[in-house]
Assembly symmetry: C2
Homo-oligomer: 227 residues x 2
């Protein structure tokens, strides 16, 4: 049996993380500048190699911990990129993941040490290799996730207003939603609990904060957004 595996090529295997955050009404991506040639100066996703006895998911979680200091992050596989020439000079197969984090809850110092920066999704810099393609596919995955579960839990703070949630969905789908219809649709799912606390920073009248009911948050089979 072992003979069967002998003589097979072995490959460098990496993960790249598309890290979504949300701030001031727009989706952002965490990128860091490549500090060595080739393509020095261009921006890159956070990545790292997969170790001997580590799953890709574990590697992605490790990369996230190393760069943001966060654990227990939502993480989902996007796709594997294996074009032999995707990286010049060396052959690396990379598994892309995307994750959702709350921008303000991370370790800023750690970010600075890597030179990392949050870039608005709608205005990204030039990226190395096929990282642009990874981001494109990751956004589609995120749109899917948000269509059958409330993506807000991972990207918004514990308590959020319906305006904040709507703006988030508008950022994810890059289109507008009717305020009244969005409110009714979301509330009809029965996933949110209205708190007595209110937010007055975004409107004169004040908007109630809502929280997500953990237990039911992902059971939804109903469609939130047609997609």
């Amino acid at each position: 049996m072992v003979e069967y595996y002998k003589g097979q090529s072995k490959h460098l295997l990496a993960v790249d993380c598309v890290i979504f955050g949300y701030e001031s009404g727009e989706l952002r991506l965490l990128l860091y500048p490549r500090s060595f040639e080739p393509v020095k100066g261009k921006w890159s996703l956070m990545g790292g190699f997969i170790r001997e006895m580590e799953s890709c998911e574990e590697a992605a979680a490790r990369v996230l911990l190393e760069t943001t200091g966060l654990t227990d992050i939502f993480l989902e596989q996007v796709a594997t990129f294996s074009n032999p020439h995707r990286e010049p000079g060396v052959r690396v197969v990379s598994v892309a993941y995307y994750s959702l984090i709350r921008i303000h809850q991370q370790d800023m110092e750690l970010l600075d040490r890597h030179g990392a920066r949050w870039w608005p999704l709608t205005n990204l810099p030039e990226l190395i290799f096929d990282h642009g393609e990874m981001i494109r596919k990751a956004l589609i995955s995120l749109q899917h996730k948000a269509s059958y579960s409330l993506a807000g839990s991972e990207l918004l703070p514990e308590k959020f207003t319906l305006l904040q949630l709507r703006k988030l969905y508008e950022a994810i789908y890059q289109r507008g939603f009717d305020a009244g219809n969005f409110r009714k649709k979301i509330l009809s799912l029965g996933l949110l609990t209205k708190t007595s606390e209110m937010n007055f920073t975004e409107s004169r009248k004040g908007a109630h904060y809502y929280t997500l009911d953990r237990e039911v948050s992902d059971i939804t089979t109903e469609r939130i957004v047609k997609f």
Copy 2:
């Protein structure tokens, strides 16, 4: 720059192909029996290792060619499986693909040489490793594909009746569809051309054969099946 890659672990990288076929009203999968230990005798997806300068997609196409003799097959990535213990004794990361082929148009002799057999999706044998999980995810991917494009083109012959197409969709989604509503929905897409030829083997009255308009077959953004 090269130093950066030194000292990184290299991994055995494989593809596994979930090969869907369609015959006598049911979806089938092409499996072959494992002829060596461990888990000798259990059934397995078609797979193979990725070569030095080959993409995963190319490897999957090669495996398909070697086992079925077919080229130009629809092929789509499902996911990458990387649990370090997914295969006993050796660490192999595997990228799963699914493909759609016409059962009768393949090289039967080649299949026999591999001991391969078509198994009904609803009654699969015991499978090695995580191949059952791969199949489960592949079916979900197929359901997605069939929800926004006519999956019939790859699985059915050139000309097919609406009954055949409906039975195919029922097999893919493992539920029934109302005959009248299905007909109206599909025809309203404007993707099918009615031919003058008719099929009398499945009904007394005879059913028109339809063909798929190649040019428009995948442009559909409309939903065929709510999913």
